[in-house]
Symmetry: C2
Subunit: 216 residues, 2 copies
């Protein structure tokens, strides 16, 4: 009976953490020291209890009655939980519009993500430097991933290439894959996959809108 933690954070809860973090950092800028769970809840239109449950799973210190939670301490706890404090380095494959967009996004520094190398099979792109990150030919994927110990692979290729690229990344020792292609990737079970799929996200919006419009 190895119950280690009464509070386990739900997947949905993890998704709320970046929003908490953003709000907390705003408060920190304003110099606030403590915040009640109710204030966080209000800013995100969710229930207080949910915030408390999430924080209970993540926070190293309990909240203080009549006062709330320490802003600084919560920020540190959330960043630790999310792994933002051990700055992950990543390889990006597919330097198209989307790939370039990700490479140019400076906000990632706040999320513990550092795109250390990019790869593309187009010789015209190889050798270019985008936002301080060099583009290498596909042939050097394995060599560079291993050498620089890159643990995250970002796939921004067209769908037909995604599985092949995924396999190459896995062979190169990558432990987690952030997949932007509309494909269900097959990976060994010790490799994590996170899909960021425009098609899926839009499907949700489109179906809701279609339903609303039909009702009118």
């Amino acid at each position: 009976m190895q119950e280690q933690d009464t509070h386990v954070l739900s997947v949905q809860g993890i998704k709320r953490l970046p929003y908490y973090l953003k709000y907390l950092k705003e408060l920190q800028t304003k110099g606030m020291e403590y915040v009640p769970a109710g204030a966080i809840a209000e800013s995100l239109n969710i229930y207080e209890v949910q915030v408390r449950k999430d924080l209970a799973a993540v926070s190293s210190q309990p909240g203080k009655p009549r006062v709330g939670f320490s802003v600084d301490s919560l920020i540190a706890d959330i960043e630790h939980f999310l792994g933002y404090d051990c700055a992950h380095t990543a390889a990006l494959v597919g330097v198209g519009h989307l790939g370039k967009a990700l490479m140019s996004y400076s906000g990632f520094a706040d999320y513990g993500l550092d795109i250390a190398a990019a790869f593309d099979c187009d010789p015209a792109l190889v050798g270019q430097c985008i936002h301080g990150c060099e583009v290498f030919p596909m042939e050097r994927l394995s060599e560079i991933c291993r050498q620089r110990k890159l643990l995250i692979g970002i796939i921004t290729t067209p769908a037909p290439q995604a599985q092949g690229v995924c396999d190459a990344l896995v062979r190169a020792g990558v432990r987690a894959i952030w997949n932007f292609a509309h494909v269900h990737l097959h990976v060994p079970k010790d490799v994590l996959v996170q899909n960021e799929d425009m098609a899926v996200s839009f499907a949700l919006l489109s179906s809701k809108l279609a339903q609303t419009l039909r009702q009118e």
Copy 2:
């Protein structure tokens, strides 16, 4: 007692539909007429029963024992359910890297999305034409949205501008907002919001990876 449909599709189920659709279209290309639920399930690594439940909620004809589901009919049903058959036109605001990536993505035609106009406050971008879509100044947002009856707004601006842009889109008559900024948007309750948030998606991956690495 207005029970209209025994089968209501879950949110998670809606998210699976685009993957079903993609697989079915592949089968269609190969000329297959019928497919059993088990085959769809296998291609996505999920349970048969789940596929059947999802299809039951969406499909206009039941599956045939020993045969499976009609591929053509399923494709039509899913596209109808997702609203892909009534081709939504959208306004995109924020022509940065990400905005350009979305504008250039030709795959959207398959998802019933047509980005009809783009807007940016940078005069250098105004007047440009990206992938057949013109960039207009922000001042003309309301006029063009109303005139072209654009129902979807896509926000690809930096986070600080997102709420203001959102308000402008709502005033311009938009009914649904696809938000790529890391902000919780506040909207009237008859306006739909779908967040596509890189920070959230990456948080999930990063936290799982951090946990895995800690265990080692």
